[in-house]
């Protein structure tokens, strides 16, 4: 008797959902966005226009050849740098630096943010000082850090770490402060032990905010890295760019700029994809 009731109810309910365009089926079968290739093509429209303008400018000799190199020359230089292995080597050095800086600074930022979010006295006594220190730009710290740590590898890692610290601290802090409390009642009613509560209820709710922090940390860290490498380094993309400038080889500078931009974009794109995969619910759920 009751089984019949359920089945009828389900049929009516899902039929209703479909007619209003809501629910699981509606979302799965909604192909209104352009496909992956379509989006890629659209994203390339403006770069191609810029390239066309660039070629035209060179042909018309709007700028001196030494200032604005021919795109073909930049292309050949890039290929050259790739084949000789110099570009991959410099890229690897830069990526390694940004990874260690992010790990150290981001990790510390995460810990500080969680601590400030969880313990009110820490937030009141310590957080203002930490925030103020972070708000002095990384380059502002550079002279002091150079004297303190020299111009070796440590300097670069520390500066990137310093840059990555704030976004993760803020992300973790905001995540904790703005997390929906209503799920605490659920955790209590379901008698979840402390660790399960943190792992299954609290952590997932602050993860979106932390991942946003990671993305910001990475993109800021990437930019600071290039600057630091330009000022004091014997390797890395920033160094390559600096070397190109000093040798007045603007084709190398342009090649490096393009690589920096593309890699930076790829890193952010990859992280965004990861973010959608792990915390996709947070983009859709009405909290």
């Amino acid at each position: 008797m009751s089984d019949v009731t359920f089945k009828n109810a389900v049929l009516v309910d899902t039929a209703f959902d479909r007619s209003t365009g809501r629910g699981w089926r509606g979302i799965v079968s909604a192909p209104s966005l352009p496909s992956w290739t379509g989006k890629a093509v659209l994203g390339l429209v403006i770069p191609f226009l810029v390239l066309a303008l660039w070629s035209y400018a060179v042909r018309q000799e709007w700028l001196a050849e030494q200032i604005l190199p021919d795109p073909r020359l930049v292309y050949e230089t890039t290929l050259d740098l790739l084949i000789t292995g110099q570009l991959p080597a410099e890229l690897a050095v830069s990526l390694g630096r940004v990874a260690s800086g992010l790990a150290v600074g981001g990790g510390l930022g995460l810990l500080f943010g969680l601590a400030f979010g969880l313990f009110r006295p820490l937030d009141i006594y310590v957080a203002p000082t930490v925030r103020a220190i972070c708000l002095v730009p990384s380059l502002g710290w550079l002279p002091f850090f150079m004297l303190l740590f020299g111009i070796g590898e440590a300097l670069k890692i520390i500066l990137i770490a310093k840059t990555c610290f704030l976004p993760l601290m803020v992300g973790a802090y905001e995540g904790i402060r703005s997390r929906p409390r209503k799920y605490d009642d659920v955790a209590r009613a379901l008698e979840l032990p402390w660790f399960a509560r943190v792992r299954l209820v609290v952590w997932p709710s602050i993860l979106p905010s932390i991942l946003t922090g990671v993305r910001q940390a990475l993109s800021r860290g990437w930019k600071v890295l290039i600057l630091v490498e330009m000022i004091s380094s014997a390797a890395g993309l920033g160094y390559l760019m600096m070397w190109g400038r000093k040798a007045f080889q603007l084709d190398v500078v342009f090649a490096t700029m393009i690589v920096i931009g593309l890699v930076g974009w790829a890193l952010d794109y990859g992280l965004t994809k990861f973010q959608h995969q792990t915390t996709g619910w947070s983009f859709k759920a009405a909290a």
């Binding site: 009731t5 399960a196 299954l200």
Partner: protein, 267 residues
Amino acid sequence: MADSLTLSPPKKLDAGSVKIADVSKTFRVEGRTVHALDSVSLSIEAGEFISIVGPSGCGKSTLLRFLAGLDGPDSGRIIVDGEAIDRPSLRRGIVFQDHRLLPWFSVEKNIGLSLHSVSGSEVEKRERVQYLIDLVGLTGFEKALPHELSGGMSQRAAIARGLAPRPPLLLLDEPLGALDSLTRSHLQDELLAIWEREKCTVVMVTHDVEEAIYLSDRVVVMEPRPGRISQIFNIRNARPRYRDDPEFVTTRREITELLGSQKKKNH
């Protein structure tokens, strides 16, 4: 198979009786003292279906949170199966108005979460979860995330989560309040069927007088300022009930008039 899963201590047949004795609670709101509950007493027998109706501010949701053990009264006692309540327990399942499914977990995982602290093998638990998914009519939506479900489907999942650990007492806080009337009346029939099958005591808070009469053995009408029980109606009609039955209509008018007179008194 999944039917054999039991909580320790095992469920007794007469489990789920409630004794609310002289429960009072005051809140401070903007410097004023509000009597949310003023010496409320009520006895509920094991296996009963009880509805609590009343205007907002009559303390019905507060009372339900006390029954769940999420909050406690200032004075008075609440005893379930001979034990005073001092904290939440899986022996008292609660379904909130806003379903409160964790948005990062699938339907399956959300329901499974309520078996996290229950003893039993993983296989048994998985079977119990699947049984409940089938029971509330969400077969095929095991992996769906809450935001992919409609309001009615979310509330079904929330009811399944409340039922999973086989609580002798099921507390429903306006579980169908946010749904459209069509989905709502379907879920009412499902609730009845579930109650008959699981043989648990149900205490449901609702705004809807008709829903209360349609489902309950007794309807408790509460009044605000101070929050207390104003009258209890016994509904003796055999189930399934018909909303146009003369007795049903009379009871509904009596309750509606009682609620209306409260409104006049308070304004």
